[in-house]
Subunit: 366 residues, 2 copies
């Protein structure tokens, strides 16, 4: 409709991004599958011979997935890419390239009070994670965020929200993917890392955003000190599981254990029993391991955005206690679904007596 | 942040979409490259042996690319997919799968005044074009459009704009792509179809949106009767050019001839001469062919969104007058760039005298 020519200096910005992305691709991915990056109608990728292509897309929308008042731009950029990488990890695929579509209100493209523009800081966060996992940024789209008419009958306009859409392309050997649908009755259920940390850190962030304003991604230890602001995609674990044929099914915990396990059960046509006392709680949820409070359990079961992997494996298969430096915990078992029974049952012990209760999906539904 | 559980009945909606997409994939693409569609962490594609992968992403943002008051939902859905398909066409690639990320304010997901919901009509337009070109819808993301704070210091919130991000994955034999960078000095410049029609129809639409409210995509004739509302991606022409090795370079005219030809020149390190009198004007621009008014020329050169292909070919190569039923017109020639000279020169005849003038890019810059 309108022609906002060079309002953001898009051409210059894209050229600098193109140079940076090309540099990254050359330096870190000398044998990468990216044959043609930013600058033509499409990017061209060359997957390794015998590989299939994996594609995932995820929105990051202001006020839905992040808030400018809470999250640093670096965290928004990191989280945007981490979500897509986590989807690849859940299937055991290796990333080939990322595509970023970014719509920003004009004020976020310009420097403010002598600081770098929000956009540059967003990209710094995005590209730091891309560099770590050697994922070339191969294209995307940019736009001024839509001017939003407050009242459609009048003419008043406001600048729109910031939003990003991330596309990840990955590859894995033909017919080797970790699917949600492959679990068998009797399989053990495992999770990587720790649960509930992202939800716990989000609550702290909401209560006191100032405390987190200078928060930077640290070299990841375990547990990750910033599970919400800088989640770590479990690419190495996914790749290990795929390569060693250990898992029967997998999914990433983006929307909460209860919701993502429910999806895995649905796709595998099975039910599950989860042992509450085996859940690996993040120290931000509860520093001591016993007794688990109801609040801690709520965060670990329904919190979401932990981006850990949830996978199943045959009881006859040995799963190490840690894979690629990430702790692995068995939290339950898959079983046949009996008619009228809840799909997921949570088991714990109260006063020495075993208690079973249904666990309905309580995480994020899109 | 918030957990808008089932506000839009997302789960039911996604299930119906998944069923429809799977049906489409089965019915129309029995040998398609889509191995796993909606329902896991990633979609899985199997490109034909020896093929490379092509990826393009495009935003469709309310008030930037469409207006709810002007465009029917069917047109918005059609245009959203057509933009991505046109990028594949420009490189000669065949589509493998589409991914659609859609963020809508709640009111567009519900039926209104006994009519189908905006979202359903959007998808009808999208899927009709997908069906025509046998492109399975293999995934994407859905979200409630961000609630937008009018005043960040206060708490007042408004529903956000409608927006879509489309990703197209295509394939073509290894090292066969039509690139922007392959033109040689002396190559002829060609365009498909007609120019300026989209801009002319947009002007009519803006002047009288009611007239277009019942406008439907017709079986495409040539010229396309609705070049703005229902543009036709030139996939068959792109595929023909690739298969027959006739073109040296190609780009699609999404942002206007002057801007897209400038990009092709830049990537090929060349300049171009365009003959104004050879431009194939769309009948909506000017019913008679002579004399060309300045307004008509403006629409044809800078109008944008025609989604025709612009390509170059050696003067020794025969280019037919029509390819796959689409007329092809020679509009100029590529040449070396002389220092200090304009990159694109427009030539016409005034009172029997040849006139040359520089043609700066005047279309849409992102």
């Amino acid at each position: 409709m309108a022609k906002p020519r060079s309002i953001l200096g898009e051409r210059a910005f894209l050229q600098s991004l193109r140079a940076r992305a090309a540099h990254l691709a050359d330096q870190h991915c000398p044998v990468s599958g990216l044959k043609l990056g930013i600058g033509d109608d499409c990017a061209i990728l060359q997957p390794p011979p015998g590989h299939q292509i994996f594609v995932t897309t995820d929105f990051s929308l202001e006020t839905v997935h992040f808030r400018r008042e809470w999250h640093t731009p670096e965290s928004v950029g990191h989280r945007c890419l981490a979500r897509g990488l986590s989807d690849l990890a859940a299937m055991g695929a290796a990333p080939l390239a990322a595509f970023l579509s970014l719509a920003l209100p004009a004020e976020l493209a310009q420097p403010r009070r002598g600081q770098l523009a929000w956009r540059k800081r967003f990209l710094a966060g995005f590209l730091a994670l891309a560099e770590k996992y050697r994922v070339p940024l191969a294209g995307g789209d940019t736009a001024l965020s839509p001017l939003f008419p407050m009242d459609r009958t009048q003419g008043s306009m406001f600048t729109g929200p910031a939003l990003a859409d991330i596309v990840l392309i990955g590859s894995a050997p033909r017919n080797w993917a970790l699917m949600r649908s492959g679990a068998n009755a009797g399989d053990r259920i495992y999770v990587t890392g720790h649960l509930g940390g992202a939800a716990a850190e989000l609550a702290q962030l909401a209560a006191n955003p100032r405390r987190f304003r200078r928060c930077k991604k640290s070299v990841t230890g375990s547990p990750n000190p910033h599970p919400h602001l800088f989640p770590e995609p479990r690419l190495s674990v996914g790749a290990w599981l795929l390569k060693n044929w250990r898992a029967t099914a997998a999914i990433d915990i983006s929307d909460g254990l209860s919701t993502d396990l429910d999806r895995l059960c649905e796709e595998s046509c099975l039910a599950a029993v989860v042992n509450a006392e085996m859940l690996p709680l993040h120290p931000l949820v509860q520093p001591k391991s016993h007794p688990i409070t109801d609040e801690s359990l709520e965060l670990a079961l329904h919190g979401g955005e932990d981006y850990e992997l949830l996978f199943t494996a045959s009881p006859d298969v040995r799963i190490p206690r840690s894979i690629a430096g990430v702790p692995i915990t068995c939290i339950g078992v898959m079983r046949r679904q009996a008619p009228g029974q809840a799909r997921i049952v949570l088991v714990d012990e109260v006063n020495g007596r075993r208690r079973e209760r249904p666990l309905p999906p309580g995480g994020w539904e899109h």
